[in-house]
Amino acid sequence: MRQYLTKRILSTIPLLLFVTFLAFILINLRTSDPAEIALRVNQITPTEEMVQSMREELGLDEPFLVRYKNWIVNSLQGELGYSYVNKKPVLEELQLAIPPTLQLAGATLAIIVFFSISIGILCSIFENRWQDRLLRGFIFFLSAMPSFWIGLLLMWFFAVYLGLLPTSGMNSPQSIILPAVTLSMTFLSTYVRLIRNNMIQNKHENFILYAKVRGLNERTITWNIFTNSIQSSLTAFGMSIPRLIAGTVIVENIFAWPGIGRLCVKAIFNSDYPVIQAYIVLMAVLFIICNLLVDIVVVMIDPRLRREAK
């Protein structure tokens, strides 16, 4: 097991290097000169000498690979550079923006877990009956709507029409409801289907037949089906965590949520490269770590895989 863990953890290093290198190349492919951008965002009309001195200040006069190495080494030490726009350390910006996004992602995950499990179970119980079809149809319908549209509809209905919730901002605890619901819509239909299908599949397994033969009540049987079905959904749930965090961009904009998605959009509009780079690395790390954790958890849960890993 330990050997497996070491192997898995070590294998993330080349992956991270590859992803960051790719991101670095892509950003450097842009035709605009970052030194000039750094001057222009401060309303300075760039002259040749100023651009040159800014290039030196930002270390842009070094060869490509040296810059990449510097960037990686500095990032590992937590020095992510300074924003071109407001001159604040990028790390500080991230520290401000990450907690709201984590809150939002957490609330969304709770909604996804609760509704996908309950609706998934309901659907499997009423397999192919009208209740199943109605629920699935409704969820599918909601998921098919783009999130900016559904977000505005929800905002209009619950805030303006019913006057129950605030439209946007982060001023009260209820503020998180609408953005979290909006964000969960995109994921809900996938998980409802996943759980429903797994439940239905397991229903026809022999161990359920035996349980029925033993005369266990309906509730216990459903519970048994559920615990066996949830395992394969775990991987998907695990991987949806980084996807959730990366996918908050639009929802954060609509609901004026001061998270990392908005930070990234603003950085892109301003060509604030240090912030964009930091965002990319953060997301890459997040995806790789979540992937790693999910792999490890799956191996630990499943006795067959555990044996293989040894």
């Binding site: 905002m155 609509i254 930070l263």
Partner: protein, 527 residues
């Protein structure tokens, strides 16, 4: 089965909407002392000597020696001033009853420190001409301050009154004797002070207890950041937002503005014309270097469609680059109204022949032009499409190229465009600051004019007009400048921008400052 699902869905929707009762009418204005202003932007760093913050926020906290009003420059922190015969020395007599909100005294010494701080941070403030011509600052006595220029500069007072950079911040907020690397606080002399600021969320301004002038009626201004326009509108309908205010489609697109106007529940107001929105016709490019082509384009565009159809009559049609209410721009120029027939004649005259595909050709080349715009601005795209169809009608192909901000700037600098938008900053920057930028090669205006025969003369005349002391001579020079660019047809005037305000009925006293970037919160009150 499908019908069953449909019926089920409809039933669900009916239930959901049926149980709805509007609950948001309970907001009462009695004793309301907070105004919520929604903006797509955070106030950022409002250091008055830098350009990184929101102008409207800087204007609430910081004041200048003088103020620009529709009646011209008026006293503010200076009671009066004298200008020397040679136009080089301005002596200001300061108010004696002013203190900064941190208790520091406002006097000639504070003024000197502020102006010195602006001038010493030359790189960041050189965009303003006045910064380039200031020679010396001097404390004469406690409440008398003198400013000496290198050469006469007629818009000196106007530029001192701008929202930035010549606004006064407490010297106690300086870091190492300067404001160039940030400030330790935001103590000004203005009607409001910044009480709280949460990055990208909100800023809270409270009335300045020690304000020397009339204290504002509304105690608190809550500047709420809402990046999405639709959210702002819903916030207004929900009573969470009291005021939306802005120019250039920044805060409100024209459709939303008209929709709210028709609802009648809100008061909508439009300021007098401010900035100028025009299209640069690049005189330094293969096709548009021919004056006849540029002239033809002037007649080919239906501005009425743009003003009414796209901007919903929230902006006025522009016949000339500068509106007649702009200083020195009230001159008679030949107006080129929409006339497709005339446009076609001019193109015929220029040797462009219509082929079977409906487009014009000359020497085997198709008359194809490119309009470049900043893709952040949705309105500019729609305007471009309207122009595209107008030009197609006279046999000119127009491709519209939207790029992100920096790429757009790069194109501006290199002159690699046939058509590009040009926006002036509006009063009180117009006309002097606008024409002054025409001389800067990194501006699209410079590039578009680069092919003109008398470009050198133009730049020189602009340089002269800014230092011209004689009013009549100055007017004459402006006339020459505006007449020349008009005759050469390098600008295709579209509309004059206006500031739009939408607010709830209980809010009163909403007006406009001369600058389209300022919001006069201090005059507003609730009824």
């Amino acid at each position: 089965m499908k019908t069953k699902i449909l019926i089920g869905l409809i039933a669900l929707l009916l239930i959901l909407t049926g149980c709805g009762q509007r609950a948001s009418d309970s907001n009462s204005s009695a004793g309301k002392d907070e105004l919520v202003f929604a903006s797509t932007k955070d106030i950022r760093d409002i250091n008055p000597h830098l350009t990184s913050g929101e102008l409207a926020a800087q204007n609430m906290v910081f004041e200048s020696l003088v103020v620009n009003t529709p009646e011209g420059v008026q006293p503010k922190l200076a009671k009066s001033w004298d200008i020397s015969e040679d136009g080089l020395t301005y002596t200001f007599h300061l108010r004696e009853d002013v203190v900064f909100s941190d208790g520091a005294p406002f006097n000639a010494d504070a003024v000197k420190q502020n102006i010195d701080a602006v001038v010493s941070n030359y790189e960041k403030n050189a965009w303003l001409n006045l910064v380039q011509v200031i020679d010396q600052t001097e404390v004469i006595d406690e409440y008398t301050f003198a400013l000496t220029l290198k050469n006469p500069y007629y818009p000196t007072l106007e530029e001192l009154g701008l929202t930035r950079p010549f606004r006064m911040i407490s010297p106690q907020n300086f870091i190492d004797g300067t404001t160039a690397n940030g400030v330790s606080g935001y103590a000004g002399t203005g009607p409001y002070t910044l009480a709280e600021h949460k990055d990208n969320q909100y800023a809270l301004f409270t009335a300045n207890e020690s304000y020397w002038g009339d204290k504002p009626s509304i105690k608190n201004i809550h500047w709420q950041v809402m990046p999405d326009h639709q959210t702002i509108l819903l916030g207004l309908q929900n009573g969470e937002v009291d005021l939306i205010f802005g120019a250039d489609g920044d805060m409100l697109d024209a459709n939303a503005f008209t929709a709210l106007q028709e609802q009648g529940q809100y008061i909508t107001e439009v300021s007098p014309p401010s900035g100028s929105r025009s299209i640069l016709l690049n005189s330094n490019r293969e096709f548009t270097k021919d004056r006849l082509v540029r002239e033809a384009l002037q007649y080919a565009i239906n501005k009425q469609t743009i003003a009414s159809g796209i901007l919903n009559d929230t902006e006025q049609i522009a016949d000339t680059l500068m509106s007649k209410s702009t200083p020195y721009a009230n001159i008679d120029l030949e107006i080129r109204s929409y006339d497709a027939q005339k446009a076609e004649e001019l193109l015929d005259q220029a040797g462009w022949v219509k082929a079977d595909d409906g487009y014009r050709y000359k020497d085997g080349k198709k008359l194809s032009l490119m309009l470049s715009y900043n893709s952040d601005n949705a309105q500019e795209k729609t305007i471009g499409e309207s122009m595209q169809s107008d030009l197609k009608a006279i046999g000119v192909e127009l491709t519209i190229l939207g790029e992100e901000k920096q790429a757009y700037f790069d194109r501006q600098k290199s002159g690699d465009f046939d058509l590009q938008y040009s926006l002036s900053w509006g009063l009180p920057y117009d006309p002097q600051t606008y024409v002054s930028t025409w001389r800067v090669p990194s501006h699209g205006d410079y590039q578009a004019q680069a092919g003109l025969e008398k470009k050198e003369w133009l730049d020189q005349t602009i340089g002269e007009v800014l230092v011209e002391q004689d009013e009549a001579a100055r007017a004459e020079k402006y006339k020459q400048i505006f007449t020349y660019v008009h005759e050469e047809a390098v600008y295709l005037p579209l509309t004059y921008s206006v500031v739009k305000a939408i607010y709830s009925e209980r809010l009163k006293g909403v007006g406009f400052n001369v600058s389209q970037y300022e919001i006069p919160f201090e005059n507003m009150y609730f009824e």
